[in-house]
Amino acid sequence: MELEENSPKQNYTEAEKQTIFHGEFMPHINSMYNFAYRLTLDADDAKDLLQDTYLKAYRFIESFQKGTNAKAWLFRILKNSFINDYRKKSKEPSKVDYQEVESYYNSEEVDRQITPDLRVEALKDMIGDEISNALNALDVDFRTVIILCDLEGFKYEEMAKILDIPIGTVRSRLHRARNLLKEKLSEYAKQMGYKTA
């Protein structure tokens, strides 16, 4: 997973590099684009971020060990590039102190408040951009875990490595993220005329 860190360097021929790039990296380009787009919430920034990430992946290809999880390796590079290069200049509100957000949402108090009574029937009527807007409206750290888990199917352990956080934090952050998403969806359901008890 490591990039520029102490992972054993591989020695690939130019042909091998090409094979890895086209055979193992390019197949994930749609997932990677979606991740870039959901992080930056801007088509142009997403393009730049994706391009930077793939060029970086190529430049550091010898830190990638054949046969290991290329998708997780790529996602980690993209996430680090986003934090280092884009988060500062993005239109996100000034960087939220994550600890603060997390301890707030981890309190039992919030658990009691967030019990959205959302119904499956209401979801079935959300045929437009409701879910996409609800996801985009979440704080980027909560948005990220939902993308990695529910859209991309990463395991908790892989997510922990991609995000550099403990597995316990992955689990609790996911739980909070899903509660917040349901809260947003309940608002839409209410606007659509569904009664929430």
């Binding site: 749609n30 391009q51 979801l123 951009d129 879910i131 899903r178 349901k182």
Partner: protein, 90 residues
């Protein structure tokens, strides 16, 4: 999962929040076979709030997958390939 009879189900769950956490772990494919067996067979079919939560969780995941995945523009994909090939040549 079979179709449980709603009239025989509990209408309230004292462990609703803990159950929801377990439910998510199961749906994420991270639960042990014992946890899965216990929860899905022993609890879900007799507890209405958890049964509803289960279906809600599944529906949200389906909705996310169908509505929140966009492919990369082909132009961009071609561009990236070209840049890397040029890089290889240099």
């Amino acid at each position: 999962m079979s179709n449980p009879d709603p009239s025989k189900m509990k209408q309230d769950c004292p462990e609703k929040n803990e159950c929801l956490k377990m439910l998510q772990v199961i749906l994420d494919g991270e639960a042990t076979p014992e946890q899965k067996e216990h929860f899905l067979k022993n609890h879900l079919e007799e507890c209405m709030p958890c049964y509803k939560n289960y279906h809600l969780e599944v529906a949200i995941r389906q909705l996310l997958k169908t509505k929140c995945c966009q492919d990369a523009p082909q132009e961009l994909v071609d561009d990236i390939k070209t840049k890397v090939i040029n890089n290889l040549a240099s």
